[in-house]
């Protein structure tokens, strides 16, 4: 890389310019939305739409979202519930199943693994799944967003492969010391598996944060709607249920900045977390190998 010929320099220059363009393409939509979330009705009327840079900073949109409406805080609560409780249950079910299926001598291990694997390549489809949730009485409960997706077969198999890669001597030594199976799981296997458990847990958590379709079909009651559904509603119509008071305001914020502000508040938590956890995600993809 020390002595580059002229052609090489041009080649590299072109690549840097292209990558800069691509990076801007990733960021620009977010910048537009962030800027627009700060514009006032007067500025919106003058400029006619979404903007790249705001002329003034106006917090009316955020004020409405957080102070004048209980919808957003409530939706944050619903989303937080499904992320925290959902992910914990995901992990409890996934870890136990993966641990058992990782026991090389367990009678019935292969049929049980096939039992799970079949669900990865064939499914009953949307309608039977919807009817099942309906008949089980889960509709219009928070559990309809958690229980139907307790175990992701693919993540479970990734975790099982990891457990199988742990040296057997560790468990054997624990057995010699008189440890029973539950003790081995809690004291030997889990502490060694924290990275993979964290990775899979983050996969589950991001899914719960971003999921909306299950809420859209299973939940009708507005107080049980997660943030993503509220955002979808605001993108479709200019007003929000429970925000009727906006129409009584002297200077209501433009729909564009209200939408933008909601995009920002429903994205910011993920934006702040993912750069710090991405190395785990990347590792998780690698554990899955080409098969991902």
């Amino acid at each position: 890389m020390l002595n580059l010929s002229r052609n090489e320099k041009i080649f590299l220059g072109v690549i840097y310019v292209l990558l800069l363009g691509v990076t801007l393409a990733f960021l620009l939509p977010f910048i537009i939305v962030l800027s627009t979330s700060f514009i006032s009705e007067a500025e919106f009327a003058r400029r006619g739409g979404y903007v790249l840079f705001p002329e003034g900073i106006d917090f009316t949109a955020y004020d409405i979202l957080f102070r004048r409406s209980r919808v957003i805080l409530n939706a944050y609560g619903v989303t937080a519930f499904r992320v925290v409780v959902g992910t914990l249950l995901n992990l409890a079910f996934t870890v136990t199943m993966a641990y058992v299926l990782a026991q090389k001598n367990l009678p019935g291990r292969i049929p049980l693994t096939i039992f799970v694997f079949i669900t990865m390549i064939f499914s009953g489809g949307l309608i039977p799944r919807f009817l099942l949730v309906d008949y089980l009485g889960l509709r219009n409960t928070l559990w309809s967003m958690i229980v139907p997706i307790l175990v992701n077969a693919w993540y479970m198999l990734i975790m099982r492969n990891f457990f199988m890669s742990l040296p057997e001597e560790l468990s054997e030594a624990a057995i010699v010391d008189g440890a029973t199976a539950p003790v081995i799981l809690l004291r030997v296997v889990l502490p060694l598996s924290l990275p993979v458990i964290a990775t899979i847990g983050l996969f589950y958590a991001v899914h719960h944060w971003n999921a909306w379709f299950d809420a859209a079909i299973y939940i009708d009651r507005s107080e049980l709607q997660p943030l993503q559904i509220i955002l979808r509603g605001l993108l479709r119509s200019a007003t929000l249920e429970g925000m009727e008071e906006i129409s009584f305001m002297e200077k209501p914020p433009p729909a564009a900045s209200l939408r933008s502000a909601l995009i920002i508040v429903s994205t910011v938590p993920v934006l702040f977390i993912y750069p710090f956890i991405q190395r785990y995600f990347v590792k998780g993809i690698m554990i899955g190998g080409v098969k991902g």
Partner: protein
Amino acid sequence: MSRSSRTLPLQRPGESRWSHAHKQFIKWRFYYLLITPALLYFLIFHYAPMAGILIAFKDISPFGGLQGVIDGPWVGFKHFTRFFNSFFFWNVMRNTLEISVLKIIFGFPAPIIFALMLNEVTRTVAKRVVQTISYLPHFISWVVVTGLITALLASNSGLLTGLLNSLTGESWSFLTNPDHFRGILVSSHVWKTVGWSSIIYLAAIAGIDPHLYEAAAIDGASRLQMARHITLPGISFVIVILFIFEVGHILEAGFEQILLLYSPAVYGVSDILDTYVYREGLIRLQYSFAAAVGLFKAIVSLILIIGANSLARRLGQPGIW
């Protein structure tokens, strides 16, 4: 030695099969207990819906509850025949396949090119920053992406539409225009997936023997030549395998994305199998008919994925099973 004693090596001579199985069960009882909740989950939420596809061969009332499903009369392949003979079949199949193929044409090479370009960046910090930013779209929901697309392309207030309107003096509309809608689907798909998908290629590139580059440098190869003759062949096996599985998933044209973005004005170019099942089933409450369409898709998908896997195996790759 009997056959059973070979498969169950701990069985003692003279011990009956059942008492052996019983002992095995006692020995492993903790593990069976531990896996029972997860097995019940799969039984209820995956196998029960599989049994539920039987409603595709019945006429069930949307308001009859479970009893309505049991009481519904058997109608054989009526719903399948209706689907295959309807105008919607060809429209939906064509849209599904065309959108999928477009996404493969543009979305499949994009992460490979992106990884090859990143590989040329020797400044680690710059490389890491670009990579991190490129993963960003992967972590946000399709709902948020829809909001971002609105910000750019909404017919009155979108930034790009506004710009085009003032430049051309015409009134542009993208999201409701059948000529542009698929372009939006494909480009937002590429935007959302290119960074994250490049990870696997970057890892494959990292696994290439560095001596190959040193040898090529001594022979006077340029960087472009190295990328072309060392890097690309070095990751070709990953490319081939991922491509096969991409084709195996060709009936997945992007359900959430399309459901959020489309409108009746563009149904003609964007209604895919999944959105059709959703509308017929959950909006128009034709459960049996929609289940039949869903079953058709599930069976074709199964055949495709088995085909993809055996093809991958024939090429000497492990496949997914």
